[in-house]
Symmetry: C2
Subunit: 338 residues, 2 copies
């Protein structure tokens, strides 16, 4: 068995050159003559040599590994983003080391420590926050961090979100234009900036015409809690429309309303979500929702991250990207709506 790893020294011996020559051939932009390159590549191919990324990173100080911390993948928004992110980074020669932050808060610390052990060049957290102390630790290690779909005040952290305040305001305007009188809101987890911003934008949109939500409950981004909240709003507050803090919960709400309570959507009640995951476009839900442009959010994430990796003096950025309201069939459509 050829268990033995083939190293640059083996190739050098075979080609009759020095090890550094081999190294240079595999280092883009290094000074090598054509003749040398051909000779070395021939030997390398014959032996099946490929540079050891780990050894390389030991000396260059760059691992070309990006750490991704993600809490859960049940919400379709995240696998979708993960796929895009991985593809985009792969294109730039980076790869994703994935970490699940099962618990909240406490778990994240341990996870970040492990990430640092792997000498990652950068960190992306998806729907996961960071304590100040953690942010400081990453900053001290010189590792840029981008919060994806979550915001935080810390000036050392970059972040990329959709424009949650504006988006939620658009939804408020849409529901008002539809003539709804008793509007409820099931928020995302109010411990998250995303949840809070959407609530604030939504309230602002209603307040612009002197209205306010007749009920607001926290759904914690969980199906069961969202469903329970919906039932409560129906029974206690007699809502005729609900803005649900993300699509994932909105599906649960629609399930609860249609299957358990026996209401029709949108005839009896309008439902609007947030995210526009693929499932929202499938006929079974046909959900009106505000699209988070995940493609552009990922682009911005990669851009910001790589910028800061290449040039450590770059300042952290806070980016919010506008998304359009996607009008489908789960909410009454105002007359003459364009």
């Amino acid at each position: 068995m050829g268990e033995r790893k083939v190293t640059s020294l083996d190739v050098a011996a075979k080609a009759g050159v020095s090890q550094s020559a081999v190294s240079r051939v595999f280092t883009p932009g290094a000074s090598v003559s054509k003749k040398m390159a051909d000779k070395v590549r021939a030997a390398a191919d014959e032996l099946g040599y490929r540079p050891n990324v780990l050894a390389r990173s030991l000396i260059t100080g760059r691992s070309r590994i990006i750490g991704l911390v993600v809490a859960y993948l049940e919400n379709q928004f995240y696998p979708d983003a993960l796929e895009r992110l991985s593809n985009a980074l792969q294109e730039q020669g980076y790869h994703i080391l994935i970490f699940m932050a099962s618990g909240t808060g406490e778990g994240v610390g341990a996870v970040i420590d492990e990430l640092l052990d792997y000498q990652v060049d950068g960190i992306v957290t998806a729907s996961v926050g960071m304590s100040d102390e953690l942010a400081a630790r990453c900053d001290a290690a010189g590792i840029p961090v981008v919060l994806f779909n979550r915001g935080q005040d810390d000036q050392r952290l970059s972040q990329v979100t959709s424009n949650n305040v504006d988006g939620a305001r658009k939804i408020a305007e849409f529901l008002l234009a539809g003539g709804h009188q008793r509007i409820g809101h099931i928020t995302g987890w109010t411990g998250s900036s995303t949840g809070r911003d959407r609530e604030a934008g939504f309230r602002a949109g209603l307040a612009a015409v002197g209205a306010e939500p007749v009920a607001v409950l926290d759904g914690h981004y969980r199906r069961a809690e969202a469903a329970a909240a919906a039932r409560e709003m129906i029974e206690d507050a007699k809502v005729d429309a609900i803005f649900v803090g993300n699509d994932h919960m909105a599906f649960a709400v629609m399930d609860e309303l249609r299957s358990s309570i026996g209401l029709r959507v949108p005839e009896d009640i309008s439902i609007v979500g947030y995210d526009d995951v693929p499932l929202a476009g499938w006929p079974a839900y046909d959900l009106t929702t505000l699209r988070q442009p995940s493609g552009r959010m990922v682009e911005a994430t990669v851009q910001t991250l790589l910028d800061r990796i290449e040039n450590p003096d770059t300042e952290p950025q806070k980016i919010a990207i506008d998304g359009p309201l996607i009008v489908r069939g789960s909410a009454r459509i105002p007359e003459g709506w364009t």
Copy 2:
């Protein structure tokens, strides 16, 4: 800025001991006295020292990184499996480096090469096959490979699947017991073992009572193709039941039937899927399906993989796990069915 990385030498200096002592303190099972351990840990904590995993793997030859190759994450089965897999490996001190194999065939080769560059300890491919040459290359490098949810004849590869033949046979029996006369089958991609095995099992189940499918079309695991196939079967073959090769396609089929064609499920036509992804249990689809026990499949994957990493002489394994039929509301339930 404390940009400077703190190394074991720094800790050694601070604690007044040798570098090897520090190394031993952080190596489980090494010979260290209590006093030494305390002294070193104190210094390490104070400096914020953590061992550099990359440097360590350079000398030990183990990176504690598992490469995961996955084609697409749209089918909810895979994010779910990914989450479980990552958690299980994390518990054992391993982590997942993720690679998207966008294209078929050609792309996989390049991806595997990159994986090898990272000196991964093992490879898991999810719904992705490998050419013989690739299998040989991994084998030569001494890196075990587990195919997850896909099978292949190559003796060098391990694989973990559900018992597709048996599962599909159960579905055939269920549909027959329901009194269906004109049964169709939309297969998974017939280029995949999974697709072929399910078709074979399904045909065998029907053949046991002298029946056979009135229509069989390849859905290629894609929504659009599955929907088109369903439409064609309705119009041309007048099917009264369809076994769809996985849940992801089954949702598309139900969407097409209910929304575009205007049929009722299960009154007009029965639909059965395969996988039992979370979405299958949501009321909007309420899909009868065969459960792939992803928890146990992941367990088996981790077990097999780590066994072979620890002890390279272990033989590759081919594991097929039985799953139960989950009876819900998308297919007629035979009288007295238990």
